[in-house]
Symmetry: C2
Subunit: 119 residues, 2 copies
């Protein structure tokens, strides 16, 4: 089941948690899979020099960059995320992130509640 | 089917379109239902004094406010969206938006590709 009432939250009200296996990276879960019918919304924060190592899964991401400068590798392609840039990362692609700027990088990362395909 | 390759886009690269039945409101579709497996991502911009009238549908919204100040009515409750505030609007609730600030208001609005429930 999912929330039947509206939920409003400012990012400052959500406790940041360290992302396992990543360096200098926190996640704040704004809307979790348990709360939502279809997809979750999270805020990621990567400190200067931080890194999320390569990984893959059978679902997509839709990301919206808010602050800072991030390099993203998707399979063999590199992209740069600056504020107000959105990136769609398809299911089953290997992806990796680096903060390549000199300030904390922040982005919204949405993710479906269930796998989208089979890799 | 959906995009099998990554897509990156800056909001400035997406043409704004006027939202039908709304006042002083544009939408920029970053990732459309035709491109994505599960949900779409759009940027809404409401000019000063703009308004999106009350409506409802059998799917949720997950919204992240970027700029400006918006009043949102969900059924009989009022909320204020300021930057870095997220709101989940449940399926089948009646919702309405006003720009109550003195600058253009901008927010990311995500929406599932299919109805989530029956109202």
């Amino acid at each position: 089941m999912f929330l039947k009432e509206p939920k409003i939250v400012h990012v400052s009200e959500v406790k940041p948690e360290q992302v396992p296996n990543a360096e200098k990276t926190n996640i704040r879960v704004l809307f979790s899979p348990k709360e939502t019918p279809t997809y979750a919304m999270r805020l990621f924060e990567i400190d200067v020099g931080g890194h999320i190592p390569a990984h893959k899964h059978p679902w997509e991401h839709e990301i919206f960059a808010l602050e800072g400068k991030i390099k993203v590798k998707v399979d063999d392609k590199y992209f740069t995320l600056e504020p107000k840039t959105a990136i769609y990362i398809p299911p089953c692609s290997t992806h990796e992130y680096w903060n390549i700027g000199n300030v904390k990088a922040k982005f919204i990362c949405t993710i479906p509640n269930k796998p989208t395909t089979i890799c």
